[in-house]
Amino acid sequence: MLPAVAVFAFYITYPLVHTVVLSAYSWSALNPARTWQGLGNYAELLDDPVLLTALKNNGWWIVLSLVIQLPLAMLLAVGIGSALRRHRILRTVFFSPLIVPAVAVGLIWTLFYDPNFGALNSLLEALGLHGLVGGWLGDPRWATVCIIAVSCWRYTGFHMMILLAGLQAIPDDIYEAARIDGASAWRTFRHITLPLMKRIVLVDALLITVGSVKIFDLIWVMTEGGPNHASEVLATYMYRSAFSDDRMGYAAAIATVMLVLTLIATVIYVRLTGRGEEEAAAA
């Protein structure tokens, strides 16, 4: 027990507390001197239009990732789950985007979206859809959506695997009983699969949500949060503040905001899964 506490304190608690403390100062990484700001960094954050953009974008990330990835992963897991079990190759295909490093994924898709040489615009032009040809990653309206699409491509297979694991835990005889009772595929899914999968779906949703709050790599590789902060999220803005703008205290304040948001999401999901357990216990 003690070693675990020590490791926890050293690797998690200390950096966490340190970050919060640092957020009360104004300082540069290149200069040892710090000035006390109190809540000054937070006051500035409240007033910062870029933070608002970042929060809004993180919101889009959460919503779109949940709405696209979760149903799609479920569809893949249930719909071709049995086929997947038999054909390992399919599983590998869906899972493979995740093994490719994010930087490589980002670069490949950046080429795909490139306004002058990219496959997307070439495709649209070949189809005669000249009106749809756009700047994509360079267009403030589309940049975030374009990156979320890549993220969905990358992670849906991963979530499918998680759900698949959940599916395999459901005993076959329940399905068999349902079949004997003449239940349709939809009713089987609605009344057997979904209730029994509730916890794993919630855990998966938590993973997606926390991942969307923390998302950094793809955005940094593809747009660096640009153009003009249009695809900025909390993590990229934190990084930019720390290492491009050289404002470490301000970056620490952003990190603290991220921490609070992630904690809130976790508490909500823990509550939800907890309730699920109580229901199961009552039943």
Binding site: S28, T110, V133, P227, D246
Partner: protein, 522 residues
């Protein structure tokens, strides 16, 4: 100004404390330094650079190999980082307290920021040793870019300038003359335009290429002195000259004329370059670092190798700046103030800065190395010779705005240029934001400075205060009262101008300048 002195004082004082330990005695390369560990263990020097592409990479490897052969007790480990990633990575390394011994820098505020934080080892003494032999190797006044407050903090190695590169075939097709003024330039844009040829390639996904236009226009409109006084993070930073808005408007006008390729903000620099050398754009505003992509053996297609040339940024008639000025910077290397092997690091820099290394580099890379005699008829091609002559003939070489402004203020400008392209902001708005950011930065720096006065009057602070008075000059204390409360400093500006004498008086908020009557200074 009072605050400014105090700020510079604390920043530099912090730096000096660190440097005091590692300040090396000047020494000749042949003698092994005290860095050699007992038992003949090798000294290892970490070197970070952005020369991650050929031919620079192997040229540097050769130079390093030569050095290691001559100094078998020193090992140089080179780490290559992609340029845009390097900007952040080196900050992380320095911020985490484990910086490389020798690292690449861009000149200007970028370097100055490191210097202010006390992260760079001054090499002034080594440069002046042996009758200033090392100093005399460096071409022209390039060292001034690496000199702050009388101390020199590294060596400028490569001269990089930006020009309008153009496709000579496309210009010949339309019988276009090289434009000399902004209006002529706008006319050229229209002449060379075709449905499948954009007048200018612009890859602005990394944000800084578009700002080059604004930076040049500002210089042409207002002159460099005006810019320097506004850019100074500790200066008044008024940014109230109408030239600022006008320059941004002229760039906005360029965007409105649709002279750039599709979606510049979504285009990478590499793809903009490709648009240019595939003939899909007639011009490309870029730096001499792209020479090697265009010339024989480069990434451009073979039929392009002889189809390019360049001209300087056009003049803006009626502007107050030097209309012939070239825009550029000096890439170079500095030594970390935290290095455990200052002598070995200096030895290595001396080797890198030697005529042999410079000629080797020019021979392999055909770039303008800032060492006297490095570029010769034998080792350079026509492009490099033309460029070298152009630099020699230029009245001044002016750094780009983003290398002179404080980081976070520069970020406002860079993002602002992106926003101008997408049409989501106005020149006035950008300037308002820059002023606001500048005020915050100044306040922060002043708060930092306010704490240092407790140290009381003394030689160190007096020297720093004198330096703060005229950042590019050498300051020497010529007299002081017993308690150091009044100090006389002789300030020698670079370039052989008359030295002036400045009196400093101690007040409770630090040293202040006492203006003395004109005739008194004789």
């Amino acid at each position: 100004m009072r605050h400014a002195i105090a700020v510079t004082a604390i920043c530099l004082a912090a730096g000096l404390m660190v440097m005091g330990v590692g300040c090396p005695p000047p020494q000749t390369p042949a003698t092994p330094g005290p860095d050699v560990a007992p038992g003949g263990e090798k000294v290892q020097l970490q070197m970070w650079t952005i020369w991650n592409t050929e031919p620079r990479k192997s040229a540097l490897d050769e130079i390093v190999a030569d050095f290691e052969r001559a100094n078998p007790d020193i090992d140089v480990v080179v780490t290559n980082v992609e340029p845009d990633a390097y900007k952040n990575r080196i900050r992380v390394a320095i911020g985490s307290g484990d910086p490389p011994d020798v690292f690449f820098v861009w000149s200007g505020e970028w370097l100055h920021n490191f210097v202010r934080g006390g992260n760079v080892l001054p090499i002034t003494d080594a440069l002046s040793a042996n009758g200033g032999e090392w100093r005399s190797r460096v071409m022209g006044d390039a060292l001034k870019w690496y000199t702050f407050g009388g101390e020199t903090y590294g060596i400028p190695f490569l001269r990089q300038c930006t020009f309008f590169f153009y496709n000579t075939d496309l210009f010949a097709r339309d019988q276009v003359e090289i434009p000399e003024t902004w209006d002529e330039f706008l006319a050229v844009c229209e002449t060379v335009r075709r449905p499948d040829v954009a007048p200018i390639a612009l890859g602005n996904s990394v944000k800084w290429p578009a700002h080059h236009y604004v930076s040049c226009l500002w210089q042409r409109l207002m002159g460099q002195e005006q810019l320097m006084s506004d850019f100074d993070p500790l200066g008044p930073g008024a940014y109230d000259s109408p030239g600022y808005v006008q320059g941004l408007r002229m760039f906005q006008d360029l965007v409105a004329r649709d002279v750039f390729n599709r979606a510049p903000n979504g285009t990478t620099r590499e793809n903009a370059r490709a648009l240019f050398y595939t003939g899909k754009a007639a011009m490309f505003y870029t730096g001499t670092w792209d020479f090697n992509s265009f010339r024989e053996g480069g990434e451009a297609p073979e039929d392009f190798w002889d189809s390019w040339d360049w001209f300087n940024f056009p003049a803006v008639p009626g502007g107050e700046g030097d209309q012939e000025a070239i825009h550029g910077g000096a890439d170079g290397y500095v030594i970390s103030s935290k290095t455990a092997h200052p002598d070995a690091a200096i030895q290595f820099l001396q080797h890198l800065n030697s005529l042999e290394s410079a000629q080797l580099f020019v021979d392999r890379c055909r770039e303008l190395v800032l060492v006297n005699g490095a570029v010769t008829e034998e080792n350079a091609d026509d492009a490099l010779l033309k460029y070298a002559r152009q630099v020699e003939a230029a009245p001044t070489i002016v750094p780009w705005a983003d290398t002179l402004m404080e980081r976070s203020v520069a970020e406002v400008l860079l993002s602002g240029c992106q926003a101008l392209i997408e049409g989501s902001t106005t020149p006035e708005q950008i300037m308002d934001e820059i002023r606001a950011r500048q005020a915050e930065v100044k306040q922060r720096l002043e708060e930092l400075g306010g704490t240092d006065v407790s140290q009381g009057p003394g030689e160190e602070l007096a020297k720093l205060a004198a330096i703060a008075e005229s950042p590019d000059a050498a300051a020497e204390i010529t007299g002081h009262s017993e308690d150091w409360k009044s100090v006389t400093v002789r300030v020698t500006p670079p370039g052989g101008a008359e030295p002036t004498t400045v009196d400093l008086q101690w007040t409770e908020s630090g040293y202040q300048t006492v203006t003395r009557p004109e005739n008194d200074s004789q």
